[in-house]
């Protein structure tokens, strides 16, 4: 799948260069690896659902699993679909066109409209419809951020029934509460947790030996805290620090984060909401969402981190965190964000009105 052409410049990025290719190379996740290896040796693969926090290594596990299973036939038999990638306007139009059967056609379906959800119609169906031509007799489709499908999950379930023989699905999600029961009951579930700190340390250190950088334990401690065990992200941070010519220390790491991660949008969002500029705050949210590809939940998570570091009183921080947490929980069953976003900005405004920060 990942075919590096010899002159691909991106190969210099540590996280891509040292990305595991086979299950064996993956750090940690012993239990999941063992289960996946058993599946490979039995050659009978069921649908899989990998659930775990963002950056815990679900996609890497799934990719390596597919690579080990399919071997050389991987290129034709593996598909990866990212639900978080929005459909382009051309794809939308094509979906609309395809879903209508002309009235002049003969047959019971003439003049009918088919209502496959657009995303499934454009991204998933073309792949699963094609007959698998490999030795195994079935293809593998990896779907990331599956929970973002929302109401379209029912359509996906139908697809799993219709094409389950031809294609096995590996669904990845960081929000298992939003997955509907019929999907869960059709899949083997693997819960993926982030790698342990010790394993993280060992892995980063060994890559350091190859790339000629040294890390000490205190730096790893901060790094682990910041990346929540995401080794790829950790390597990116290290590389950026090296490029800047900085030492690898915790202090410098936080200095980098201020520059890299905070696009200052979040602080600005808090300011706008607390100063009663509700509509501006809403617009800012949509632009942050688009720019950085956030979901409402990940937006709230980041916002609450930001609020903790904002220059406001301790009790006020507590109130903000309380508000964000409540709204986050409230927004979970629903697929829309705007009602909850409005509640958030007004609630933040109310906090200021009730007691000054």
């Amino acid at each position: 799948m990942v075919s590096f052409s010899n002159n691909n410049p991106l190969e210099r990025i540590y996280s891509l260069k040292h990305e595991p290719r086979v299950l064996e190379e993956i750090a940690g996740h012993e239990e999941s690896k063992e289960r996946l290896e058993r599946l490979i040796s039995s050659r009978s693969v069921t649908h899989l659902l990998l659930a775990g926090p963002p950056g815990s290594g679900k996609l890497t596990l799934a990719k390596c699993f597919a690579r080990d299973l399919l071997g050389t036939e991987m290129k034709a038999a593996l598909g990866i679909v990212h639900v978080s990638n929005p459909l382009t306007s051309e794809e939308r139009k094509a979906a609309k066109r395809d879903s209508y059967v002309s009235k002049t056609r003969i047959g019971s379906k003439a003049g009918l409209k088919f209502t496959w959800p657009k995303f499934i119609q454009m991204r998933v169906k073309p792949f699963v419809e094609l007959k698998a031509m490999n030795a195994l007799g079935y293809k593998i489709l990896i779907v990331t951020d599956f929970h973002l499908l929302g109401n379209d999950q029912q359509g996906f379930r139908r697809l799993m029934e219709m094409y389950g023989r031809n294609c096995r699905f590996i669904l990845l999600t960081s929000q298992i509460s939003s997955i509907i029961d019929p999907i869960i009951s059709r899949c083997q579930i693997l819960l993926i947790s982030p790698v342990s700190k010790a394993r993280f340390y060992k892995e980063v250190k060994s890559i350091g030996n190859k790339e000629d950088f040294k890390v000490n334990y205190t730096f790893i401690n901060s790094l682990y805290h910041v990346t929540r065990g995401n080794i790829g992200l950790a390597l990116n941070y290290i590389q950026m620090m090296i490029l800047r010519g900085w030492e690898l220390t915790g202090d410098k790491l936080f200095q980098l984060l201020k520059k890299v991660v905070d696009t200052s949008g979040f602080t600005r969002f808090l300011e706008l909401a607390m100063n009663g500029k509700y509509l501006d705050a809403r617009n800012l949210y949509f632009s942050i969402k688009k720019e950085a590809g956030y979901t409402f939940t990940t937006f709230l998570e980041t916002l609450h981190e930001k609020a903790l570091h904002a220059p406001i009183s301790q009790s006020f921080k507590a109130h903000i965190v309380d508000t964000i947490a409540m709204i986050n929980a409230k927004s979970l069953p629903s697929s829309s964000d705007e009602p909850h976003l409005f509640q958030l900005v007004y609630a933040l405004g109310q906090l200021v009105a009730d007691g000054s920060p």
């Binding site: 991106l10 996280s15 720019e291």
Partner: protein, 454 residues
């Protein structure tokens, strides 16, 4: 239109209930004019129908065209009674084939009506109600069959129809067209007054309110009379309760308005999304807002998304009705709960919980508008789909996504910072290689450099 018509008919049958040992006939039936003489104000139509019936074989069918409740059926029944003819009523769905019609006619001849024994009827009229519902061009039933029936029928055929429909054009061509307009509120009011008098409840409802009922009926006799009956019954019921409580009858007047408002709920036609949102945001009570929301009909939106769309509309326009942040904050809390409930409904497919969603939304609106004058004077905006220009270079994004099979979000969050660093801090080799890899032209190169400096 025909849908609302049907629900009205159901309502009629609901109002038939036992109270105090005797069966109440719905007033609509009780005071339906029995003879042509009783029908006022439509002389031209009367004449036209009578002429058609008398000269029957000349013109084989007649179509009475007009909005519901203006007295089309009443006119036919009264004419039949005056001319001593039997009426065979049929639905459009009965008229599937010539055979089925013949069967129905012969049945009715075999089981003769009582008037037959008296020997006073001369012939029959076939009344096909609501031909709107008929299929256009299908082989069974539908317009062609109906045309055949009209051609062969031994008896005059009278059809009623609510709207002019192009699929029925061929029927209109062979029929006598009798067109009705909706009734003027003044005539409705007169009739309502008459009915009240006959029922012995004159004075219980003020002229002003009678006027209101007449107006809100949209020129529909039937609905106006139904409204009147429900209102009177509700008032009498309330009176009985108040008497039991020892309260004064004077309180009736204040409750009348409320009851009337509630009754109107069933009377409103379906609303377009714009009218519905305008009405909802203009109402000052939960009941009012709920009614407006419930009446919204969006034929082009799949029912799964209808409620999301309504909520989006409300959120888009809610800022126009108040500037009071405290109130809006409370409303937003309620809207958020509404959305939570809707998500729960969709997840569990437990649509009975939808009522809570509607009530949450209505409560949100009412919490802002309550105490104000109400009424929504601005224009209703469509929810905006917000497009923000994404400054990240799409060529790079697509290329990485294709090669490494990572989602756009991960690339933006995790890889772009590194790539920017490499572009800036590196000695220029990386930049050159990247441009080659992406196969960029001059403009593309400039774009990437600009992006990296940001």
């Amino acid at each position: 239109m025909s849908k609302s018509n049907k629900s009205r008919k159901r309502r009629n049958s609901n109002t038939t209930r036992k109270s105090g040992g005797k069966i109440d006939i719905p007033w609509v039936e009780k005071y339906r004019p029995k003879t042509l003489k009783d029908i006022i104000g439509v002389d031209a139509k009367k004449k036209q129908l009578v002429k058609f019936l008398e000269e029957f074989p000349n013109q084989r069918a007649a179509v009475l065209l007009g909005p519901p409740g203006v007295g089309k059926t009443t006119l036919v029944l009264a004419a039949a009674r005056d001319m001593k003819k039997d009426v065979i009523e049929m639905n459009a769905s009965d008229a599937r084939s010539a055979e089925s019609i013949k069967k129905k006619i012969s049945e009715s001849t075999k089981t003769r009506s009582i008037t037959d024994f008296i020997g006073s009827t001369k012939g029959k009229i076939i009344l096909i109600d609501e031909v709107d519902g008929i299929h256009g061009n299908q082989d069974r039933g539908g317009v062609p069959t109906l045309l055949e029936i009209i051609k062969d029928s031994e008896y005059p055929i009278v059809m009623t129809c609510n709207e002019w429909l192009s699929k029925l054009q061929r029927i209109y061509k062979v029929s006598e067209m009798i067109k009705f307009r909706s009734v003027h509120p003044a005539s409705i009011r007169n009739v309502l007054k008459d009915v009240l008098e006959k029922e012995g409840h004159e004075g219980i409802i003020s002229d002003e309110i009678l006027e209101k009922i007449a107006e809100s009926a949209n020129g529909d006799f039937r609905s106006a009379i139904n409204d009147l009956q429900s209102l009177v019954e509700a008032l009498l019921h309330k009176e009985r309760i108040l008497e039991k409580d020892g309260g004064a009858g004077a309180r009736i007047d204040s409750t009348t308005k409320e009851l009337l408002e509630d009754l109107n709920s069933t009377r409103d036609e379906f609303l377009s999304i714009f009218d519905g949102i305008r009405q909802a945001l203009g109402s000052t009570t939960i009941a009012g807002a709920r009614r407006a929301i419930g009446n919204i009909e969006m034929p082009n939106v799949s029912s799964n998304f209808q409620w999301d769309t309504i909520l989006q509309y409300i959120l888009e326009n809610i800022h126009k009705i108040s500037r009071d942040d405290d109130k809006i904050a409370l409303a937003m809390d309620l809207f958020s709960s509404a959305d939570q409930m809707l998500g729960f409904v969709k997840e569990t497919q437990e649509w009975s919980l939808l009522a809570y969603f509607i009530n949450f939304v209505a409560a949100g609106i009412a919490s802002i508008t309550n105490g104000s004058k109400g009424g929504f004077n601005s224009s209703v905006d469509q929810p905006k789909f917000r497009f923000f220009r994404d400054s990240s270079p799409t060529e790079l994004l697509d290329a990485i996504s294709r090669t490494f099979q990572v989602s756009h979000r991960d690339i933006k969050e995790e890889l772009f910072p590194v790539i920017k660093h490499m572009l800036i801090q590196d000695d220029g080799v990386f930049k050159k290689e990247l441009q080659e890899w992406l196969d960029l032209d001059a403009a593309g190169k400039r774009k990437i450099s600009k992006w990296a400096m940001k």
